[in-house]
Structures are given as structure tokens and as C-alpha cells.
């Protein structure tokens, strides 16, 4: 049970990272990205390919490409209590996601919002098809495995999940802090101005295209890092994890349920949606089947959009305030 909960918490953390990136795109800037899976896959594959050597050649014949960072940097001491190759892999994932976002954003962000949506969907499918078909690069549908553990040799394999949970939470906290600082900065104010009314923002002398492109790249970087975190959690990735449903829709569901454009909504949304998604497998058979899960999460998104357009986070915050008021009545009174 504890192991299940640890694994659950890690994935909630990883999905919170994706949702944080999507919140930068849609929640704060109004960029309609339905290709989260593309940046997700780019991050996961880039990080893995930088780190591992090819699996044994008799198992996989035409798998040619791979970096060897895990072994090269393994000789170096652990720097700042973290494996150096892990940091480099995350940076590489971020860089590749940023470059793809820069190219696709430059072409489509000037156009209407729908075009960006279609372009991101197309990019996500194309990325998935490349990883599925180019066996020399990514081992096709079998995917990549033997991805090493972070802190291998220092932490025993049984304890890996618990340690990795801390790693994920630290990385998420860092990115959360960055997004929080940016959102409250003048730069973040411009983004929200663009989201609310692009023409007015343009008329106030803001270079709308540049701000949108910066936000698009920032969100993609966060998603790419999320992909890398995902790869080092499962330690085996294949193109089937990056379908539009698992890689994009569920993250949208998290953002919508949490409430877009709110700082804490990625965590709330990831917790609720991933809770429903992975908790429903324990339900008795007709309810626990994955098909019912698809249907119910799809319906949940539509219902939240119709009846609670701000998401569930405001409600959660209200409950929190009520509890705080019970314990510390003065402080809440002062806030009001």
C-alpha cells in the first residue's frame, strides 16, 4: 500500500509539472496547446537517449544511437547531492523542447489560436511517429529501457521510489517558484493582459508576438523537464505512453478541473484527476474498466467546464480558509 502511494505521489508530481507548463500556456497566456504529448515525448526521449548506452546488441539489432552520459559522468563525484548526469539530462530535455517550441511557435503563433492548436496536435503526432518508426534512434515500438536510477549505488533499489519522490518534488518546487515569480512580475502581467485582450495589449505598445513566443517556449521547457522526470520514474518508455489521450488529454483534464490560470491548480487538478484515473482500477469490474475511465474523465471535463468554469481550486481554497479560520481566527480576519 505504501509503495502504491509512493508511486502514485511520484506520478502526481510529474503530472503536476506538465500541468504547470500547460498553465503557463493556456492559463496565463491563452495559448491553446493540444500537443502536450509532443513536448512530453521529446523530454522523455531526449533525457533517456543522452543517458543510456544501447541495450545489449543481440536483443536489439538496429538500435544505433545513444549517448553515454550515465557512464561518463558516473566517474565524477555526486555534485550538490545530485547525480550530474541527471541534471544534464534534464537540461538537454529542456533545450530540445525549447528549440521545437521556438520553431513551431514562430510559424503559428502569429496566426489565429485554432491554428496553434492544430499545429501542436500535428507536432505531437509527428514526434510520436518519429519515435515509433525510427528504430535506429528510439528502438521503435519496444521503446527504451534500462534507463538508470538516479543516485544508483548510493540508494538501494528498494528505496528508490521514496528518494525519487523527493527529487520530483524538489524539481517541481523549483519550477513552481520560477513560474510564481514570473507570473507576479511585470512580464506575467503582460501575459495576462494578452490572455484577456490581445488587441488592447498590442495597442499599449506590448510586442504581443514576442511575449507569446516566450511563454510558449517557457511552458514547453517545463513540459520537457516533466517528460525527463517521467522517464527516470518508469525507467522504460515507449511511444504508447505519448498518445494524445494519455499525453495530452489527461493533462488538460487536470488543468480544467484544477482551474486554469491559478497558481495551485496544477497540483489540485493532478491530484484529483490522477486519483480518479488510477483509483478507478480498484472499482468492481464494469466500473473499473479503462473504457469507463475514458468516458468518465471526458464527461468530468465537460461538466466542470459547464458548471464550475473556474475549476475546483477556489472551492479547495475556501475549505482551507474555513479550516484556517477555525484554528487561527485572527489571521484570516486580518486578511479580510
Amino acid at each position: 500500500m505504501l509503495e502504491f502511494l509512493t508511486g502514485f505521489a511520484i506520478l502526481v508530481g510529474v503530472y503536476s509539472v506538465f500541468t504547470l507548463g500547460l498553465n503557463v500556456h493556456w492559463g496565463y497566456t491563452g495559448l491553446f496547446n493540444i500537443g502536450v504529448a509532443g513536448f512530453f515525448a521529446l523530454g522523455a526521449y531526449t533525457a533517456s537517449l543522452l543517458v543510456i548506452r544501447p541495450p545489449q546488441s543481440d536483443q536489439v539489432d538496429d538500435y544505433l544511437f545513444a549517448g553515454d552520459l550515465a557512464n561518463r559522468l558516473d566517474a565524477l563525484p555526486v555534485i550538490g547531492a545530485l547525480d550530474l548526469w541527471f541534471v544534464v539530462a534534464l537540461a538537454g530535455a529542456a533545450l530540445v523542447a525549447a528549440m521545437v517550441a521556438l520553431v513551431i511557435g514562430t510559424i503559428t503563433i502569429r496566426l489565429r489560436g485554432d491554428y496553434l492548436a492544430i499545429a501542436t496536435l500535428g507536432i505531437a503526432e509527428s514526434v510520436r511517429l518519429v519515435f515509433l518508426n525510427e528504430r535506429w534512434l528510439s528502438n521503435g515500438s519496444k521503446g527504451l529501457y534500462t534507463i538508470p536510477r538516479v543516485f544508483d549505488g548510493i540508494v538501494s533499489p528498494q528505496d528508490y521510489d521514496r528518494v525519487y519522490l523527493v527529487v520530483v518534488l524538489v524539481v517541481f518546487a523549483l519550477m513552481f517558484a520560477v513560474v510564481r515569480a514570473l507570473v507576479h512580475s511585470p512580464w506575467g502581467r503582460v501575459l495576462r493582459a494578452i490572455r484577456e485582450d490581445e488587441v488592447t495589449a498590442e495597442a499599449s505598445g506590448k510586442h504581443v508576438f514576442r511575449f507569446k513566443l516566450q511563454a510558449f517556449v517557457l511552458g514547453a521547457v517545463i513540459m520537457g523537464i516533466g517528460g525527463a522526470l517521467y522517464a527516470f520514474d518508469l525507467r522504460a518508455i515507449s511511444p504508447s505512453a505519448f498518445t494524445p489521450l494519455l499525453g495530452t488529454f489527461i493533462i488538460w483534464a487536470m488543468l480544467v478541473v484544477g482551474g486554469s490560470g491559478r497558481l495551485y491548480s496544477p497540483v489540485v487538478g493532478a491530484l484529483i484527476v490522477w486519483g480518479i484515473w488510477s483509483g478507478s482500477q480498484f472499482l468492481p469490474d464494469p466500473l473499473g474498466s479503462p473504457h469507463v475511465r475514458y468516458f468518465s474523465v471526458g464527461a468530468l471535463v465537460v461538466l466542470v467546464l459547464m458548471y464550475a468554469p473556474d475549476g475546483i481550486t477556489p472551492e479547495v481554497l475556501r475549505i482551507r480558509d474555513r479550516w484556517l479560520a477555525r484554528w487561527r481566527p485572527r489571521r484570516v480576519a486580518a486578511n479580510e
Binding site: D114, L129, F295
Partner: protein, 335 residues
Amino acid sequence: MFITARTMRSPAVVRASRVAQAVLAIVFVVLALSEIGLAVNGIFLGSVLALGAVGITLVFGVMRFANIAHGDMMTMGAYVAFFLLVSVLPEHTGLGPFTFGFPLLIAIPVSMAAVAALAVGMDVLVFRRLRLRRANIVTIEIASLGLAIAIRGFVQMIWDTPVRYFPNEGRQHFSLPADISIAPNHLFVSGAALVLAIALHLLLTRTKQGKAMRATSDNADLARASGIDTDRVLLWTWGIAGALAGAAGVLLVIFNATSQLKPTMGFQLLVPLFAAVVVGGIGNPYGAFLGAMLIGISMEVSTAWALPTYKPAIAFTVMVIVLLFRPRGILGSKD
């Protein structure tokens, strides 16, 4: 948006862009002619895409959002026909040169009606409420994404995930000179698509309802001010788009050599469908038809040197290239 999109271009840039467009058009024609057999298949694929793309573009015209659930509406149409063929209608295959039997001719209109009802139901239950709340366009679009997943989940709940097949029997292809080989089913598919396209054209140009649809698509406020009941136009548009999606779903199944269905078949076609809509000029049904042919031919001709699994990526690439030179598509309006 419209301010940023209308950047000033010097005459030299415009001239260079025109030359590049001409070169691209010539390259396209030469490639298509050099692989004429594949190009002919591309026309057949294009006719399936056209039925889906026209529906997306019609809905976009009056509601200003790209309906992501359209692919799954097609899936729904295919499965309704599957249900009818297997459980309701008499068993019969091999009508004339085709792999399917006469029951399919009954299943197509029933599927069209069923998906039209689904589309109207989606509008009444979800989209109309969001509209009345003056929800953001993209909120409506996310709702359509939610509906897409819900429809697929529904299909999987009832028919499960394994691949299913329409009752069919093997048939010889027609052989023509120049290595052109045509599956009889493909002729049926494009014939049916053509009939539906002509019917839609007549509806849009000859009937009062069709004219009201075009007027609403051009300028909804002006249409409302001229006394057009735009809510009714919306329902009609959803109904027509749904009917076309239902037909497209069934035709997509018999287009396939083994007549197979799977729950992801519609969603997987979404990238080529959107590419067709955008290439033709979003909101323009004739553009969607043209775009679908262009995308269909590009996808099939590409298999001469690329893996067939890359077809959606090819559709996407063609779309990006067209957008680079014509941001509003080939037949796009100034908007």
C-alpha cells in the same frame, strides 16, 4: 490575431513568395504525375477526408471553433453501421464488384441520421449552454476535446477495443494501364462522397436554409439583424456536419482494404482532417474539399519514399508549408 497577422510586405517579398508558390505547385504536380497510381489512390483518400473536413469547416464557419470531437463522431458513425450490419440487417456481402452487401446502403443513411442526432444533442446539451454563458471560444474547444474522449470511451464501453470488421468478401481490383489499380470499394467511396458534396452544394446555394447558413457564416451579427434565426442555423449546421461525419465514418471503413474498425480510427484521422480544413481556408466548404484532395494525394504519393505510417506527419508538413506562404489557406477569405 488580426493585427499581428497583417504584417506589411514589400513588393519584392510578395513577388518571391509568388514564385515560391508556383514552384511548390509545379513540384506537387510533377510528384503526383510521377506516381500516378498512388495519386489516384490519393484522390480516393481525399474524398473520405473531404466529407469529414467539410463538416469541421461548416461548424467552424458558424461557431468559430475547430471541433475536436469530429473524428470521434466519425468513429461513432462507423460503429453504428457495424451494429446494424452485424445485429439488425440481413447478412449479405459481395454486392456487384464491392466487398460489402446491400445492407450497407441502408446502414449509411441510418448512421448519418444517428450521428446527426448526436451532433445536435451535443450542441443542445453542451455547446449552447457554454455559448449562453458567453464562454471563451477555446473553452468551447476544450469541451469538444472532452466530448471526443467521452465518445471514444462510450464506443469502447459498448464494443470494446479489439479490431472489428464489417462483413466483407475479397474482391479483385480493376487494373488500368500505367500501373493504376483501383479497388472497386474506392470507386463507391468517391462516388458516394461526390453525391454528398453535390447535395451539400445544392443545399448551400439553392435552399433558404443553406443561404441562411452561408450568411451566418459570413457575418453572424448581420445575419441576425436581417432576421435569420441563427440558433436554428446552428442546429442545422450541426445536423449536416454530423450526417457528413457519419457517412465519412462508414466510408472510411470500406475504404480500408480489410474493412476494419477500431475505436481510435476517427481521432487518428484528426490531423489530416484539420490539415485539409486549414490548407483549403478554414470556414470555406469548397476550400475544405480542395484541401482534402491536396492532403489525400500528398499522403498517398509520399508512401513512394516514406513509411506509410508517416502519412499524418506528411499531412501536417504540407499544412505548415501552405501556411508559410498563405496564412489563410488556398481559398481563405480576408476575414
